[in-house]
Symmetry: C2
Subunit: 427 residues, 2 copies
């Protein structure tokens, strides 16, 4: 496996006498994952849960690899116009390469005009292709942005520029985004209606931006498949064990928050992707813990005081990348080898990060906080595929243990209706 | 005042019968703020709490404005090497201008070598000045980065380049960073030992990067002073009312999380600054609520489901910037005026953001969630100064009501000690 998971202390807390209750609840939940795994296997085999079929699919990747947006190198900038599930998964995948590598991919997951304007005029506009993504084809933010893009391109080069520099991804059939695509001769790719946004990273929504960025999607899916196969068959697999522990900790220890803290800047979008995945899946019917994104070591300087000394109401996950970076060995002779810098001698920057990660893990555990560590050897395509699949499955299993549907998000419709009313002046 | 604060519904929740208890606890806490305000006034008048004197100071800003890093325009890039309080306040201030404006300011609040490397070689290195900031002068991350910076500059242009392109900010006296500055002839500016990192935004740590970026620090302090004066004298002032409400909601309604969600991308660093301010201040002795940063409207697509339908354990603050952006009116004739797009007709992108903000506020309130809204007319220097002062004071008053010290952070020393041990191979 591409990662290793440990629970340092969740069954050994001495702060209260709960540890036996936690273990009992954990064992019970773990045994329940057997039924869930069986149901998921059936759904997968019957073709009723496409997100579980994606890891072993091959033909769609071949087709995507041959798409002009991937093969033709005549544009060096791409803007992905999407929000939530239409953007975050792609950001995770693209971010494992160096940020400055060409082609340059920008994500407009905001409505701030300051962010959009630079791409909408002058030389940047001429060099840029736009991926316009909305699963339903009705997301107001995306439709507003699409109108701006089309107006700018049309002013610059007419319908030809619009159809050449844009690509639409939405569900097949009639919807406003699809209508706009057809009217302007913009090529359309079909978003599978049965692949929900927050679970769509391995589908074309994540894969196409990743392929443009030069990411090997076969390896991403290979990493995902290893985790999926293990989870569906192995009762001790990491996602099932974690789901059972999540459930036991909320039930017995009143754990309300789920903190994800990688010690790797490249995994920052991963924490945002996880936040949506977890929040939209578990947050239903008054239930569900709240996800918190964090980043090591920077958040040691902003959150650690509260985590260590505040209420014991959080489950912590540290992701520790054990790879060395390419930084030079620190030369403390530049500071005359003063004794206060001894500890930095002959180390790389990545050694400091590793030491801080291990120190934070030990400090949290020693204080009786609920802690899991995930260790990875290198952050490559296979690993990121494995981590994404792990957290999708951990989320799905946790939802089933909690008794909520992992795949819907029924509560947000009212806000959407009001937004349209206010814009129409009916508020 | 530069902002307006409302509590939509915190005393009118129909979900449970708690509203009278909330109001009683709130009134009691509000009356206690009188004693706190008196104590703070005394500390301020006696010069024992410098963070409260900064808003009315003028002479230090004059001196900083004349610093070569501000006046000499021969470098177009600046890297602020700092972490936590040495970086976040400056990021908030700098971020109210357009991101692409010159000079370009970059913040290394990470140890990722991918982020640092581009600045450490070639033409970027020659164009860049480095602000090396650590209050204590002992922060391991900063010392490690400083060694890399000095090595790179020294290889390029010897001690002359080092002393010309670097500036150190740390406490006066002996400390490793100060030692390095003296050895390499790097100019030093003194960090006031009595101004704690997370409260230091109005001091030179925030002000110098802001002045380099062209921010009017006099206006920032003016906005802060208006809020401070009001808070020390007016029992109904916004920070005191908010602190009392925070206290009542945790006490009576088991509110565990404090969500800050501006509808403005430019306020994103503000949410990170607030997160540290709140977490390090309130998180002590098993007490304190957990801050959550969010951003509208993007997080409606990732968090709102949980917020609306999950546990009612959060206090929400929406910051709504009512200013219009400069985007063109949306032209729905580009989509043949199809009825599905009627609601976008003749609106700007900022209208969509405003409508979503108001819709989210109403939806949260209608569901019985605890909600505060802060309305601003325009995001300028005076407003950002006011908002920062507001949240510092809200935090300080909340801590006093909670019975914890707002200014220390005693719990994080163990992790620092372990980090050094691990690097020395003693782990």
């Amino acid at each position: 496996m591409t990662y290793k998971q440990t629970f340092e202390n969740c069954f050994s807390s001495t702060e209260n006498g709960d540890q036996d209750w936690v273990r009992t609840a954990f064992m019970k939940a773990l045994s329940q994952t057997e039924t869930i795994a069986s149901s998921l296997s059936v759904l997968k085999d019957e073709g009723r849960l496409p997100i579980l079929e994606l890891p072993e699919k091959l033909d769609d990747l071949t087709a995507l690899s041959e798409h002009p947006f991937v093969t033709e190198k005549d544009y060096n900038r791409f803007v992905v116009v999407g929000i939530g599930g239409s953007s975050l998964g792609a950001q995770v995948l693209v971010n494992i390469r160096n940020k400055d590598d060409a082609p340059y991919l920008h994500f407009w997951d905001t409505l701030d005009y300051h962010v959009m304007r630079p791409h909408l005029s002058g030389s940047k506009l001429k060099e840029t292709r736009f991926l316009l993504v909305s699963k339903s084809g009705t997301t107001p933010e995306i439709l507003a942005q699409v109108l701006l893009v089309i107006e700018a391109l049309n002013n610059e080069g007419g319908m030809r520029a619009v159809s050449q520099q844009c690509l639409v991804i939405c569900e097949p059939g009639d919807n406003p985004l699809g209508y706009i695509a057809d009217k302007w001769n913009i090529p359309r790719l079909d978003h599978d209606p049965d692949v929900g946004g927050r679970y769509s990273a391995f589908s074309l929504v994540g894969a196409l931006p990743a392929l443009i960025a030069g990411i090997d999607m076969n390896e991403v899916r290979r990493g995902a498949k290893e985790v999926l196969d293990d989870t569906l068959t192995n009762p001790e697999s990491a996602p099932r064990v974690s789901a059972a522990l999540n459930h036991a900790l909320s039930d017995i220890c009143d754990v309300r928050m789920n903190v994800l803290m990688p010690y790797s800047k490249q995994l920052e979008p991963f924490t945002h992707w996880f936040r949506q995945l977890w929040a939209e899946s578990v947050g239903k019917e008054g239930r569900g813990s709240t996800p918190l994104n964090a980043l090591g070591p920077i958040d040691q300087h902003s959150q650690l005081q509260l985590w260590l000394d505040g209420p014991n109401d959080k489950f912590f996950t540290l992701i520790i990348n054990q790879d060395d970076d390419a930084s030079p060995l620190m030369d403390v002779s530049l500071a005359d080898n003063i004794p206060e810098l001894d500890y930095l001698k002959n180390h790389r920057i990545s050694d400091v990060v590793h030491a801080e990660a291990h120190a934070t893990a030990k400090t949290l555990a020693d204080r009786g906080k609920y802690l899991r560590c995930i260790y990875i050897e290198t952050l490559d395509e296979r690993t990121i595929g494995a981590l994404m699949m792990h957290f999708m499955l951990e989320t799905i299993f946790t939802c089933h243990l909690l008794g909520v549907n992992p795949f819907d998000q029924p509560a947000v419709e009212e806000g959407k209706r009001l937004t349209k009313m206010y814009l129409k002046g009916e508020g």
